[in-house]
Structures are given as C-alpha cells and as structure tokens.
Symmetry: C2
Subunit: 468 residues, 2 copies
C-alpha cells in the first residue's frame, strides 16, 4: 500500500485493495452506458462547428482566440459544468502581416510559402539573395563560407506515415525549429524550410521557430514541398536562383489570454483531480480543427456526457483548455505554476493533441514512486472496455506539450491517441478544417475520453499506485 | 484486301496480307530495342524540366505559351527532327487578373478560390450576395425564384477514383462547364462551383466554363472543397451567408499562337501519317506538368528515340503539339482544317492528355470501313510488346480533345492511357507540378508511345484495314 493510498485512508474512507485487476469488471456497465450516450449525441459535432466555422483559426493574441475563450467558457456553463473560469495568462503575440516570396531569376514566379511563427520580418523592400539548397545540417556545415549572404533552403523531407514507425514529424521538424539560427550562424540572410508534411498539393505548413540568442535573427518561412523541389532542380541544373522574401511579421508585446477551466466535481475526494484537455489556440491558418479544436471539444463533451448521465466520479474531472500551446506554452506553464499546491492531488492528466480521427487508445507515463507496469496494466483494463470504439491500445509513452509541466511534479501523464496517418497532411496548414473530421470518429473519441477520465477519477486506488 | 492496300500495291510494293496476326512477332526485336533506348535516356526528363521549371504554366495568349512554342520548336530542331514548323493559330485570350472571394457574414473570412476560365469579371466593387447551396441542377430548379439575386453554390462532388469505374470527372465537370448559365437562368448574380477533384488540401481547381448565349453572363469561380463544405454547414445551421466575389477576369481579342509540328519522315509512304501529340498550352496555375507537358514531351521524345536508333518507319510519324486545348480547341480545329486534304492519309492519331503516370496501354476507335475488332486486335498485338513497361491494355474508346476533329474525317483515334488515380488531384490546380511525375514512369510512357507509333507507321496494312 503506497503512501498516497494512506492519505485516502486517513481521509476516513475504507481502505482499498491496491489490486485493481477488477477495473474492467467493475466498470463494464458504466463504460457501456457512457459509450452509448457519447455515440448517440451530436453535441460534440455542434461544438466543432461553432468553434471551427463560427470562429475559425485563433492564434495567441488574436481577437479570434479571445472569442474562442469566451465561446468555450459559455459552452461549458451552458452544459451546466461547475467552476467554469478563465485563468489569466499573458501570451506571446506574434503577427504575420503580409508576406510573399518571389523568384526573380532564372524566371519571375511567386512561390507558395508561409512565414514561420516567431520569425522576424524583413525590411519593406524584402531580403533578396541567391539560394543554396541543402538536405540537412551537415550539408550546410560543408558549405562553410559559401552560405554567407545567401538564402539557405533546407530540403529535409518528412518520411511518410508508417504503421510501425508512426509519423516522421520528429526528425523533420528540427529544421523548422532550428534552421534559421543554424543558417544565421553561417551568415545567411534568410532561411526557407521544406514544409513539415509528407503530403502536399502545393501546401505550405507553418509552425514555430526557435531563435538561438547567440545568432542574428534572420527571417524564416516554410515553402510548399513542390517549390523546394523546383528550387533544388533549378540549382542542380546549374541555374543561379535569386529570391526576394518579404515578411511584415513582428512580435508585439505579450497579450492577455486565458486557460479555460471547468469541472465535474468528485463525489468523495473532490480535491483529487484528473485533468483532461487540449489547447484552444491554433496557428493563423485553416480552422484549427485537428490542431487542436478536436482535443478541446472531446474533453468538453466528455464531462458533458458524464453529467447528463449523472455519473459523478469519486474524484474531480477538470477540463483544462490551454492557451498558447503553439507558440509559447504560456498556458501550460501558468497552469502548472498557478496550481502547484494542487499538483500532489493531480492523479492524472490526459492531453488530446494528435487529432480526433479513429481512436486508438491511450499512452501513459508515471514516475516513481508510482509503478509504470501497474499503470499500464490498469490502463489496459480501461481500454479493454473501449473495444466498441476501437480505443483498445494501452501503451507507455504518455504526455503532451500542455501537460508536460505537470509531469515535472510527478503527475501521471496520459496521451489520448488516435489515427495519425493523415494528421500531418493538414497540420499547421490551410487544410486543417472541419471536413477532415468524421462525426462518428469524433464521438468515438468523446466516448474514449469520457470512459478513461471517469475510471481514472473513480477507481479505488490512484493510477500506478502499488505493485502490479 | 481493302482499297487502301491496293494503293500500296500500286505504288510498287509487294502485296501484303491483310492479316496482321504477326505484328507481335514481326516487331518484337524492334520494340525491345526501342524500350531499351527509352528507358536508358534522361532527355525526356530534361525536356520536362525545361518546360515546367524553365517556362512554367502557359495559358493561351500568355507570353509563357509563346516561349513554350519557341522552346518546343527549338528542342525538336536540336533533336534533328524534320519539317519542324509552327503553324499559326489565333487563340482565345482570357486573362484572370486579380481575384478574391470574401465571406462578409456570418464572419469575415477569405475563401480559397480560382476564377473559371472564360468567366466575365465583376465590377470593381465586386458582386455581393447571399448564397444558396445546391447539390445539383434539380435542387437549383426546385429553388425557383429563391435563387434570384443570389450567389449560387454548386456542391456537386466528384467521386473518388475507382479502379473499375475510373475517374468521376465526367459527372462532376458539367457544373463547372454549365453551372454559371444554369444559375443565370434563375436570376443568380454569380456562380461558385465545388472544385472538380476528389482530393483537396484547400486546393481550388480552375477550368473552362461555357456560357449559354441565351442567358446573362455571370462571373463564376471554383472553390476549394473545404470552403464549399463550410458554406454548406453554415447554411444548414441557419446562418445567412453573404459573400463578395471580385474578379478582374476578361477576354481580350484573340491572340496569335501556333501548333508546333515535327516529323520523322516515312521511308516508303511518307505521305501517310501517324500523328502523335498532346497540347502545349495549360491553365495559368501550377506548371502544366501532367496537363499536358508530359503528353507533349513523350511525343517529342518518342521520335527522338526512334531517330537515334535510325528506325525510320514505312510511314511518317508526325508530332503535333496543339495549342489552346484548354479554352477553345483552336489548335485542334486549325490542324484538322489546314490538313484536310491530308486527312485520308492520316492512318492514326494518338493523343496523350491523361498524364504520364505508370503507363497502362492504349485505347482505339475506328470508323467503317475500318474494322474496330481488327483494330483492337492489332493494338493488342502491339501492347503485347509493352509488357516491360506495363502498357499492356488494348481497349476500345480511343480519342482525345485535340485529335477529335480528325475523327470526323474517319481518322483512327487512339488515346495513350496511363494511371489516372491521382491525375485529377493535381489537374488545373497549383499542384500540377513536375515533382508528381517519376522519371522512370515518364520513360516508360516514352517507350510505349514510341513503340506504338513506330508499329502503326510501319505495319504492312493500315490499322483496322481488313477483317479480323
């Protein structure tokens, strides 16, 4: 029996056996009831329409994000949730402005681009330079002084989705994140990266960059794959390629924003908390439907379904809709900081930020003294109840950008996992729109999130507490 | 023995049995030699780079089309082709200008659109109206007077590619072609159509419309699928959706242009002609790579391969790179008219205008007195030699927009067929770029075209002449 269970006992409740091998049996009927309710509703879809069609994309600092925060709080109140509140957060305020990339030589042509979030702008006349195209950092290093005064183009492809290996996002995104400073270190005047996607119909994908303070800040943008490949072909044919990049991008003073919070209060241990959520902000393109409107809505709807069913778990389920995941994580940091005293009573945090396509299951990561094997075993007992919605996989490796700061306090972190085979086709682009999401899959994700949150909040012991 | 064979006999050649069951055997070695040469070269890819990257898209009347015509003629001369010439054609000259589509209500948002080719423009302030969304013509008719003064949005989806049924282009394109006049007949002020594609990453696809002279000409544009679906969702939720369409589009006086022609002259019957080709013009988006740079280049390269091999067939192979297929067919009509006296000696015409993805084979259509069964049988004997490149299917239903006018003179029409499963994903959009084409598949198409053209030009009898 672990120290944490002793606390529960001290609170006057009957001692509970740490063996939770009966989670599946204990919650089977309840899980079926939740799934039935989630699958028969259309409230989740209506919320997606209100958020995506009614408000659209919502970058930190934008009026649209303010509207989304207002909308979410009202929707949660309308659903009858408890303790609905906006917790203030100051967020970075980057604005894109007008931008363009023109090829001047060997022929005049407009290229398909999106400035990277956080990039500095260019002078009004733009930055004009000859390009060098490199496949990776090693090729950049090999150029030495030949990159000085040039526009560096990184042609680092993202591998296509692989059922075994998953997405190839991680290995490609480093050029978007760091390429500008790597290029600046070589004296480059601007940086262009191949959009981080494996599918393109001339589709640029934006995303955040990180400037290394030791290097000059140079403007940076993502190009559609097609345009990067054309530039590479032209250079290989011996053409001298000259481009002009114009970006009005700038960072304004931090803007007021907020995390939106609502609760389904626990019936026995309301001070113990299961956080579920996603991030309400998005990039300033598309509709922020998969990234991460869906993650917000399935969390909002999970407690809506439970409340309608009068299913009040032992502990509190707290929905947290984080602000500023995309370019700062200010909402994530503020939540962990502002709730530091509560962290020991956060029994789990689930983030959904990988889209709401067909659900797959959940991943979990716990730290000692909690037991990872036990946590995974318990999670498997939960996902065994999610066969009807396909969310049967219980794996290690839970987490999420917004719940990450809680992990440093020892909070068990779970990721809600759905099919990501198409996710990065839309991610951070104009194609991240509601039509890509299927109402049935959305509801299946609501069901999975509601069942997992309910059991984690209601199970006798805490997740991972004890020995397997 | 048909009259045509008698002509050959009269020309002093030995009488030839009309039975051509030996085409496979007769040409096996030659076909292998052609395939070896086509597969080992990179001239076709180089030509694609010169056309797509060096010149880019090339709408009728544009300086880019003039450059493409100049480039093609020079490339054919550089290859040592005979009778390289530009045959003048006056072509329609439509220009897009600036264009935009803004949603004013229920929220302000820019929509992803491309004006339709041939559309009239709008006044400078644009055309503003409330929308009605209809799935088809019947729904438009059912609206009656409720379409008056409105912007009609046609949400007619193109079915996804099906290996059995092929592309769903035909059934959807009618709204792009005719929707504007159907809407105008109901008093609509503008027409928006769902882009004719089954795949979209917020990708509008342009293409020609046809105005019915009996109706007012109203401006028309294609919307990305995503935007049409959003408009439909908003209307279904009861929102009043108002848009402003601005288009500078206009039709200028016809512009001078040309079909580009080159020949590999026949060794015995040079006045008998096998035409092979595609169209050099494209829409004013993307690079015109699949539509129809590839069709032009494989034809150019087919005779290049034959000439390098010193394979001069009995009859003449004539490459015709038509102008103005996309919005007028002026090149196709001019060729058939200017060469009317030669039409009886056109023994076949092959068009490639369905992309140069993995080759599949050829389709053929002949008219009496030629025999369709015999023509297909002979074609099958030819495609039996194309196993190595995958172009094994000999089917009925040959033709093509540019060779169509020749069909009216009884010329046997063949279509070069390649895998079209992705073709319409790129078609008439910014995504029709060279990267979609694989050099190996390009070469396989060169091989298929060269073998087919060679045998059709060299076989003892004419295609379809006699009885099976």
């Amino acid at each position: 029996m672990g120290a944490l269970t002793l606390v529960s006992t001290a609170l006057g409740q009957a001692p509970i056996a740490p063996d939770s091998a009966d989670l599946s049996a204990r919650y089977r009927e309840t899980a079926d009831q939740i799934i039935d309710a989630a699958m028969s509703g259309n409230d989740a879809w209506r919320k997606m329409e209100e958020l995506c069609d009614g408000i659209g994309h919502r970058l930190s600092g934008s009026p649209q994000l303010d509207r989304a925060i207002e909308w979410a709080a009202r929707a949660l109140e309308r659903d009858g949730q408890e303790n609905v509140r906006r917790e203030p957060v100051l967020v970075p305020h980057w604005v894109r402005g007008e931008e363009s990339l023109m090829m001047l030589a060997p022929k005049h042509q407009k290229l398909a681009m999106l400035g990277l979030g956080g990039s500095v702008g260019t002078p009004l006349v733009g930055v004009t330079g000859e390009i060098v195209v490199v496949a990776n950092r090693e090729e950049l290093d090999a150029l030495g002084e030949r990159a000085r005064g040039k526009i560096v183009v990184f042609n680092a492809p993202m591998p296509a989705y692989d059922p075994e290996k998953g997405t190839g996002y991680g290995q490609a995104v480093t050029y978007r994140s760091n390429g500008a400073s790597w290029a600046a270190a070589k004296g480059a005047v601007a940086c262009l990266v191949r959009s981080v996607t494996a599918a393109s119909l001339r589709s640029p994908h934006t995303g955040a960059l990180r400037y290394d303070d030791a290097q000059p800040k140079i403007p940076a943008a993502a190009l559609a794959i097609e345009d990067v490949l054309m530039l590479e072909r032209l250079v290989k044919r011996g053409e001298r390629v000259t481009l002009t990049l114009k970006m009005e991008a700038k960072t304004l003073p931090d803007a007021p924003s907020a995390n939106v919070i609502a609760e389904l209060r626990g019936r026995e241990r309301p001070d113990e908390i299961v956080v579920i959520g996603g991030h309400l902000d998005s990039w300033d393109v598309g509709q922020g439907a998969s990234d991460d409107g869906g993650g917000c809505v399935i969390s909002m709807e999970a407690i809506n379904v439970l409340r309608k069913l009068n299913l009040r778990p032992r502990r509190t389920i707290r929905v947290v809709l984080f602000t500023n995941e995309e370019n700062g994580l200010a909402g994530a940091r503020a939540y962990a900081k502002d709730h530091e005293s509560e962290m020991p009573r956060h029994v789990a945090a689930i983030e959904s930020d990988g889209g709401v396509f067909a659900p797959i299951g959940f991943g979990v990561s716990v730290k000692p003294p909690l037991n990872q094997d036990l946590a995974q075993k318990q999670l498997a007992q939960i996902t065994a109840l999610l066969v009807r919605v396909g969310a049967t996989r219980a794996s290690g490796g839970g987490g999420g950008a917004d719940i990450g700061p809680m992990g440093r306090f020892g909070v068990p972190l779970l990721s809600h996992n759905a099919d990501m085979s198409r996710y990065f086709d839309y991610h951070h682009s104009d194609a991240d729109t509601l039509d890509k999401i299927k109402p049935d899959e959305l509801n299946r994700n609501v069901a999975a999130m509601a069942v997992a949150a309910y059991i984690l909040a209601d199970m006798p012991t805490r997740l991972g507490e004890g020995t397997p």
